[in-house]
Subunit: 112 residues, 2 copies
């Protein structure tokens, strides 16, 4: 998956991953990559600012920990974040429904 087809969708993806269990940023990237079979390959430069925005918006909460000199920031979903996720999932279904009927067809040319 290239470019910014993700625009506006990434936030929901991150919330969905965090809804399962609290994990740290780097692990979110790996999780998205694994669960999409490599299709979603975001970089730190994309994810970390997004997580900061989510925290500022009160959708996630973070706590620092250190494991062998390596500092980790573990994020978890807040109640607000949970509600936001539910909305995003609803919006996702609408989105797929709206675009699917137009994009899904093989489009074998003019139906003249």
């Amino acid at each position: 998956m290239q470019a910014d087809l993700l625009k506006g969708h990434l936030e929901g993806l991150v919330l969905a991953v965090l809804a399962e269990r609290p994990i740290h940023g780097y692990a979110i990237m790996e999780s998205l990559k694994a669960r999409s079979h490599g299709a979603i390959g975001i970089e730190g430069g994309t994810l970390y600012p997004l997580l900061h925005r989510l925290e500022e918006a009160g959708l996630v909460r973070s706590s620092w920990s250190t494991q062998g000199g390596r500092r980790r920031r573990t994020y978890s979903l807040t109640a607000r974040g949970g509600r936001a996720l539910a909305e995003k999932q609803g919006a996702w279904r609408e989105f797929v429904s709206a675009l699917g009927s137009i994009m899904a067809e093989p489009s074998t040319g003019p139906a003249k």
Copy 2:
């Protein structure tokens, strides 16, 4: 559908509409709105610059006509545009597949 969830997807939608038959810009907006049951409501300020980009890229071709003093610019898909559409449709399927498995679930909370 609000905001820029469409980002990166609108180009494919327009190509898909034009693949059926050549129509003019305003009619493309109406077609997208009708086929999405009102979910896709783009404005002229979004569509016309996009059509110009598509034409510059050689994916569509346009011709002017006049009907009762009203000038219309009718767009049609080029061969390049047809190939681009096929790519976009493939990318769409990948996109839905990749995000669907993550976003589709009702997410009833941590599966602890």
